[in-house]
């Protein structure tokens, strides 16, 4: 086993162990940091595979995202610090079986399919061609992703805002009645 292989398996084990601990820790804030550790390990594997831009982008993006996640945990969770033992799960057996079946199915695909071997040429430039691709032949895809993110920002503000320009966002709305004519009468 070469050094690269050893480091790869170490990072893979870190990613998986941290991913597993996300759902096994008592503290919700700790869970977000375990998820961050998993993402950083995957980002490091991406760097080993030669994807410098994507690897660093994953690490930086996830660092910020998980900080936001930790803030949400503190806001919404009853036990963000993990002072009490906690397990908030439902349909646990089904979830375990579904996870194992997913792993077995995808793993069987990985081992049974004869994939081509066309590795990245040593010393190949990868970031500049990506930039040319994004602002050249694939600009429509790239811009579509950008517009989707803009729409997401607008939707997120609309969904989470308490009120609009003309008062509370839910003012005047009433639950629909079972009787379709009742609302007209009122």
């Amino acid at each position: 086993m070469s050094w690269a292989d050893a480091i790869f398996w170490l990072l893979a084990a870190t990613a998986l162990l941290a991913g597993w601990r996300v759902f096994r820790t008592d503290s919700m804030v700790r869970a977000s940091f375990f998820l961050l550790a998993s993402f950083i390990a995957v980002g490091a594997i991406m760097l080993m595979l030669g994807a410098a831009y994507l690897g660093f982008a994953t690490i930086f993006m996830m660092a910020v995202e998980m900080m936001v996640m930790a803030l949400f945990m503190v806001m919404f969770m009853m036990n963000p610090a993990g002072l009490n033992p906690m397990s908030m799960v439902h349909q646990h057996g089904l979830a375990i079986v579904a996870g194992l079946v997913t792993f077995a199915g995808l793993g069987a695909f990985a081992l049974s399919v004869d994939l081509p071997s066309r590795p990245l040429p040593a010393g190949a430039e990868v970031t500049a061609p990506l930039g040319r691709e994004l602002l050249g032949p694939s600009m429509l895809v790239f811009e579509s992703a950008g517009v989707t993110l803009l729409a997401t920002m607008i939707c997120a503000v609309v969904l989470s805002s308490r009120s609009g320009r003309f008062g509370p966002s839910d003012a005047g709305s009433v639950p629909p009645s079972i009787d379709p004519t009742a609302q007209e009468k009122s």
Partner: protein, 101 residues
């Protein structure tokens, strides 16, 4: 470091994510499961790009689209958590039996 090894690790991450998504009661924890699934997808995409596609730029583009999906999932997920919490004071999936208010 073969493509098979990377795909096995990605499959394990996706399996963990599926387990978390189906088992967690809290909406925010459920989103963590979804994040883990996309984590595995990203790893598999970059593995394919690096080891079977000879560094074709379109492969990296696909990974960037997957990252955009992850950002959209997080933003809309948190916005929905805030909206649901403000309306009904709940953050657990089990207490959301209906979508009407």
């Amino acid at each position: 470091m073969t493509v098979q090894a990377i795909l096995i690790v990605a499959a394990a991450l996706i399996g963990l994510g599926v387990y978390g998504t189906l088992s967690q009661q809290s909406i925010v924890m459920l989103m963590m499961g979804l994040e883990l699934i996309i984590n595995g997808v990203l790893l598999a995409t970059v593995g394919f790009w690096s080891l079977t596609a000879a560094g074709l730029p379109e492969g990296q583009l696909l990974a960037i689209v997957a990252m955009a999906v992850m950002a959209v999932e997080m933003a809309i997920g948190f916005a929905l958590v805030v909206a649901v919490f403000r309306r009904r004071e709940v953050d657990m999936t089990d207490r959301l039996g209906t979508m009407s208010h």
